[in-house]
Symmetry: C2
Subunit: 173 residues, 2 copies
DNA sequence: GTCTATAGGCCGATAGAC
DNA sequence: GTCTATCGGCCTATAGAC
């Protein structure tokens, strides 16, 4: 991956995340990246190829984030780590996640990598803690996680820390 | 509102909700509605006018849905009605709500009509029920509501009824 | 008056040629 | 890295059918 290719991907990510895929023209991406427009097509074939490259990177990052939770043997810690997840996202990476949600609605993409294994691990965790309806509890938590990420990405959550504390306590932190 | 105008709006809603606003051309909308393309511009000025007309209808519908909850004096019933809300959406109206979420991400639109007054009413309800952190509880419930709607619209919620029951019980139903 | 059919201008975007 | 062909989308305009 050369330096120019990275610049292109970076510019594409910023524009896609801010304006949406359709609304971002390859010429603006090229200008923002400081390269000629043709270079985009040389390296990524077409506009869709750009998106594919970005999505591949996003999937890797997701797996990387969820892996430690899946590997956590202690049920309580597993749940708390799940709650902490959206709060721990780096602001530099926000564009990544914004793009995820944009695509979820614009192109009906499903980031199944994240949700399914996590859901199963959480169900198990709630079972271990003898919750009466572990599957539903797990679903609730996944839903909560999702809205939480949305609120953070859209800057719609005042009192971040108070809310995090509140959730930790709810799950016995 | 003539029959043709309704056909146009209906076609536009379907396409916008499925493919997104940008990706839906006026020519396809006209074809789907079975009218000539020019008619769209005669009635709605431009493509944006189409969207505006749809959003006006959506806002009215939202107010209509939330109003009875805001007017409910009993705290417990107020909370349960909130939970029931997404489960009570008519499948025929799903495109409406899908469009809402698409716009939320595509155009950063905020359906504040719904969330703010509802959030305040719920805070009050949790206060009345002597929850230790009513504001956070209200936020949690609004988040939950949001994810729930998303899951229903994207057909990602098996066991609808079991889950509804589960939530009702959690809030003392 | 409402609508269709058609023709076309303008513009920007993708993509490939050079 | 530049240049340009081609396509499609938005919108206007007009002539005429129901």
């Amino acid at each position: 991956m050369t330096e120019k290719q990275e610049k292109i991907l970076r510019a594409a990510l910023e524009l896609f995340a801010q304006e949406g895929y359709d609304a971002s023209s390859t010429s603006r991406i090229a200008r923002r990246a400081g390269v000629s427009e043709g270079l985009i097509f040389r390296h990524f074939t077409n506009k869709k190829g750009l998106l594919d490259a970005l999505m591949q990177g996003m999937n890797q990052r997701m797996v990387q984030l969820v892996e430690p939770i899946l590997g956590e043997p202690d049920a309580r810690r597993c749940i708390l780590a799940t709650i902490a997840l959206p709060f721990g996202l780096e602001p530099e990476e926000y564009d990544y996640w914004r793009l995820q949600y944009k695509l979820k609605w614009q192109k009906n993409a499903r980031p199944a990598v994240l949700n399914n294994p996590l859901y199963q691990r959480l169900t198990q965790a709630f079972e271990q803690l003898a919750y009466p309806q572990p599957a539903e509890e797990a679903r609730l938590l996944v839903h909560l996680l999702d809205s939480l990420a949305v609120a953070l990405l859209r800057d719609e959550l005042p009192d971040r820390e108070a809310y995090h504390q509140f959730l930790r306590r709810k799950y016995g932190g």
